[in-house]
Structures are given as C-alpha cells and as structure tokens.
C-alpha cells in the first residue's frame, strides 16, 4: 500500500504541475470537484455532521423533547457519573470490546481450516459466512431460541450431559456473556472472510523459501504468514471494535437491557433514556460518552490512513 500510494501521489503531483501550466484548465478543474462533491457534502452535513455537534450541545441541557430546554452545564454528566446504570453499561461495553477481540483469532482459525481446494469448498465458505449476511434482529431471535431454558438447543445439550438447565438470558451474571456470544457469531464470520482474502494474496515465494528453511507449524504461521496478513488483521480489529461499540440490535431484541438493566450497554441506555424516559439531554450525554470512546479509534484509523496517503 505504502509504495503504491506514493506512486499515486507522485502522479497527482505531475497532474497539478500540468494543470498549472495552462491557466484556463486550472479554473475548470477548480470548480468541478465541488460540483461533484456538492450533493454528497450537503446531505452528509445535514444528517451526520450537524447532528454530532447538535447532540454535544444538547447534552448540556435538560430537555423532554417537546418543551423548553434548560441549560444545566455539566449537570447531565455529573448525574451520569453518579448513576449505577451508567457504570453497568460502561462495564458491559468494555466486556463486549474485550471478548469481541476473540473474533479475529477465531476468524483466522476458521480461515486456515477452510483455505483448501477440495470439492464444494466454495459452498462451505459461503455457509460459514452466512451469519454475517442475516440481520442482527434475526441473529437475536435465533439465539434467544437457542438459549431458551425449556426447549433451547443449549439446554438440550446440557441436560443430555446431565446438567441442570440454565436460563442464560434471565441470569444477571450470565446474560451479557450470552449476548456477546451471539454477537461473536456474525463477527467471526466477517473476520474469517477478511482472512480468507488475505490468505489468497500471500507471497508464494516467501512461503516456499521458508519451507526450504524447514519452517513449520506455529513458527511458520507467526513469523512468515501473520506478518503478510497484517492489513487483514488491521481491518479485522477496526471492524470488530466498531461492532462491539455498536452493540445495540442484539441487546434490544434479546433482553431490552434486562434483567433489571444488567445487560444494558451505552448505546441501549441512550435509546432507553431518550425514547422511553423522554430525557433527551441526559440521553445525549450518554451518546457523547460513547462518541468519545469511539473517537479514539476513529482518530487512530484516520492517522494511519492519512500517513499512508502521504
């Protein structure tokens, strides 16, 4: 990437130079990009950029969504940091992020398992990827059913092994793990497909050379293969972190944050406070905290990208 993009920027520099030579052309290509960008920029500003700023602004007000807004400074944040619900949600978010980090290595393991050329392997790969294609609402339904204490698959297995049935989604200590497992299912599938593509593009000469040097097993994977898979690993980690922080759909469909708010996450807490409790300002404050956490990753991603463009 680094070498190819530096080539491109050289080319671009050449273009600019040739544009500078003829003054008239420079004008046309001065205005043109803004004509092409216009529609996208306008709608993106209205629906994405302005709302981000507006939400930050709103988080300093008390507002029920209809009546007058009252400015209360950092009041919402003070209340937030004092609330148990917030710390439960934040802890759950961290748990999501930590456990979601299992997705890239598990995706890699499945990709290594499937990276063969036997009859029907295309279909097998497609079926493994399946969970990512279906809606998270359906994944949530599927897993609620899977965990059901009276007829779920999981409890059939447990009672077959002689254990007592457990109701994962009604147990305060287990519920978040249960939802995270459901979330990992499509996430692993996504990481798998990233790694399969990465494996397809390995440098064969390096592999052969390493094999001649008698590299095998784990050493081969760690020193020869993984360094070549770095771009795939980077993307896999980025989408996994974002997936973990976006964990709304599954919480909403499987438990609605319950039992007693024990499985809530910041995304769901924000929705609940604003839509059910009509506390828009407070909800906005929750959203701002989530946004700030996400910003760390956004900043890192952008920094990496801009660096590679230059």
């Amino acid at each position: 990437m680094a070498s190819s993009s530096s080539n491109k920027s050289q080319k671009n520099a050449v273009n600019t130079a040739s544009e500078l030579v003829s003054g008239k052309r420079l004008r046309a290509s001065d205005v043109a990009p803004w004509m092409f960008l216009g529609p996208a920029l306008i709608i993106f500003s209205i629906y994405v950029l302005f709302p981000v700023l507006d939400s930050i602004w709103l988080s300093f007000f008390e507002w029920d969504g209809l009546g007058e807004k009252t400015f209360i400074g950092f009041g919402n944040y003070v209340e937030l940091f004092d609330s148990d619900q917030f710390w439960t949600a934040l802890t759950n978010n961290i748990l999501w992020m930590v456990l979601f980090m299992l997705a890239p290595p598990m995706g890699l393991a499945i990709a290594l398992f499937l990276n063969q050329q036997v009859y029907g392997i295309r279909l097998v790969k497609a079926l493994f990827f399946f969970p990512f294609v279906i809606s998270q609402v359906v994944v949530g339904l599927v897993f609620s059913w899977f965990y059901d204490p009276s007829f779920g698959v999981l409890n059939s297995v447990i009672s077959f092994l002689g254990g007592d049935p457990i109701s994962i989604l009604a147990d305060e200590d287990l519920v978040t793990y249960g939802i995270i497992a459901a979330g990992l299912w499509p996430q692993i599938a996504y990481c798998m497909i990233l790694y399969l593509t990465g494996l397809n593009n390995l440098n064969h000469e390096q592999l052969e050379a390493a094999r001649l040097d008698n590299a095998k097993g784990f050493k081969m994977l760690w020193y020869i293969v993984l360094p070549q898979l770095r771009p795939a690993t980077f993307i896999a980690i980025v989408v996994t972190v974002i997936g973990a922080l976006r964990s709304f759909d599954l919480v909403a469909t499987m438990t609605a944050g319950g039992p007693w708010g024990s499985s809530t996450v910041l995304a769901y807490m924000m929705y609940e406070e604003s839509i059910f409790n009509y506390r828009m300002g407070y909800g906005a404050a929750v959203a701002v905290v989530l946004f700030l956490i996400m910003d760390i990753y956004i900043a890192y991603f952008l920094w990496r990208m801009i660096r590679s463009e230059k």
């Binding site: 709302p51 493994f128 294609v133 599927v142 993307i235 909800g283």
Partner: protein, 283 residues
C-alpha cells in the same frame, strides 16, 4: 498456498478433512438450523416438547402461509424494498460523484473532506439520534418511507465515498488528462469516461449497501412507527412481542426476513466479498 494443500497429505488426513467439513458446518449453523426446523413444525409438536424429533406433521406450507395471511409480513417486506432500493441508488450516485472528485482532483481540502467522510461512517448512531429525529419531524417526514430513505442515503454515503474513491484512484489518469486536452467538459469526462469504468465497483457497492440498509434496525425503531412504513427488521421485532408463544410462526417470519439479503449474497457472492474485504489485502 498456506496452509499446505491437503491433497499432498495422507489419504487418511484427506478423508477426515472431508468428513470434518460438513460436521463443522452443522455445528456452526446449529442455531439457525434449529430455527428452520421449528418453522416447519406444528404448534402441537412444540407444546408437547417435540423440538428435535421428526415433526409429527409437516407444516411448511401452513406456517409460511400463515405468516403472510395473519400478520403484516408482506407489507413489511414491501416497505423494506420501498426504502432500500431508492436509498441504494441514491448512495451509489452521490458517492460515485464524490469519489471521483476526491480521487482525481487535487485541491487543498481534499484529504480533510475524505477524512470527514470516513470519520462520519464510524460514529455511533446514538450521537445522531435526537437531532436526526428532530430534523425528520421538522421536515414533516416522520413515519414515512422518506424519513429512512434520506437518512440512509446520507449516512451510507460516508462508507460509499471511501469505497468509490479508493477504486477510482486506481483508474488511469492519462485517459482523463487527454480528454481534458481535447476540451471535453468535466461533466462529460465523468459521464463518458469514468462511469463506464466504475460499473463493476458500483455493482459490488450496491450489493453490500443493500444488505446494510435492509438489515438496519435502529433507525427503523427511531424514525418510523406504523405498520404501513415499518421495514421487516422492526416488524419482526414487533411480532416477537405479539406472538410470544407461537415460536413456529416467529421462526418462519425470521426465515422470510432473512431471505432477501441471503439470496442476494448467494447470487452476487463475488461482488459482495470484493466489497467487504476492500482494504484487507492492501489496507
């Protein structure tokens, strides 16, 4: 090739690999298989605890017919289409233009605008929720298809512009340059030279964005509320609340809701994966 091709291994390894594959698929898709099996059972079977045995009677046609006759499932599916198709067309159109501008013109703000689109694509939905809901109400669009269409166009444009820009950057600049020398207008360059070249990329993008928008749940909860406009994700979730005991129907509904993106995926697999793994090989 890594790992080493299995054909070179012993016959025993080969056979066990081929046996392990179908077993692993069944284990991996077990939750889904359970739901599909439930969707063809009768209510009696479920009440009597026959979840895993052979169904006492096959209710395939009955259950799936009932989903369409006794619930607004057909309306939900229609709504999803009415929302998704124009939104996909809008995103692809806007982002092809924006991607072209960012890829082939050199101007000061270029990299910053590009960075803004990428950053916007990563923000959590919740930070947009209250203002977007207010805007939608102010525009008089709350609880209409347009509420979702416009928002999806705006939000997905971030990702789509990233995608199109990276694709168009790789196209040869010489062609565009020589057209300019001939005095062809910028718009005609876009229309006659760039557009034909990006067609394969727009197909990949359209397939991917279709799935993203079809599967959206959050905005369907926030921006619409009546059965006449609700897409299938929110509809299914509402039905789950209403038919708590009728698992065979909920399962059938879930299968129906999942079908369109699945069909699209299987027919356009190559495009789909090309879109998703953008950056995985050279990121």
């Amino acid at each position: 090739m890594y790992p080493r091709p299995i054909e070179k291994a012993s016959a025993f390894t080969n056979i066990s690999y081929r046996v392990a594959l179908p077993i692993s698929i069944v284990l991996w898709l077990l939750p889904l298989i359970a739901v599909m099996a439930t969707s063809v059972r009768s209510l009696d079977d479920i009440n009597q605890g026959n979840y895993w045995g052979w169904p006492s009677e096959w209710m395939l046609i009955e259950n799936y017919t009932q989903v369409f006759t006794s619930t607004p499932m057909f309306q939900y599916l229609l709504n999803s289409l009415i929302i998704t198709l124009p939104a996909v067309a809008g995103c692809v159109a806007l982002s092809t233009m924006a991607g072209f501008a960012l890829a082939k013109y050199n101007f000061k703000a270029n990299i910053w605008i590009f960075a803004t689109f990428i950053a916007g694509n990563f923000v959590p939905f919740q930070i947009l929720m209250i203002p977007v809901r207010d805007l939608t109400i102010q525009f008089g669009l709350y609880d209409t298809h347009w509420a979702l269409i416009l928002f999806h166009i705006a939000f997905q444009t971030g990702f789509c512009t990233l995608f199109m820009r990276n694709f168009i950057v790789g196209l040869p600049t010489e062609l565009i340059e020589s057209a300019r020398v001939e005095g062809v207008s910028e718009f005609k360059i876009f229309w006659h030279i760039v557009l034909p070249l990006v067609k394969p990329a727009t197909a990949a993008l359209a397939v991917l964005v279709f799935t993203f928008i079809w599967n959206d749940f959050f905005w369907a909860l926030v921006l619409v509320q009546s059965d006449e406009v609700r897409p299938v994700t929110a509809g299914l979730s509402a039905l789950q609340g209403q038919w708590l005991a009728s698992w065979q129907l909920i399962s059938a509904g879930a299968v129906v809701a999942a079908l369109p993106p699945v069909i699209l995926f299987f027919t356009m697999q190559r495009h789909f994966i090309a879109g998703l793994t953008l950056g995985a090989t050279k990121g």
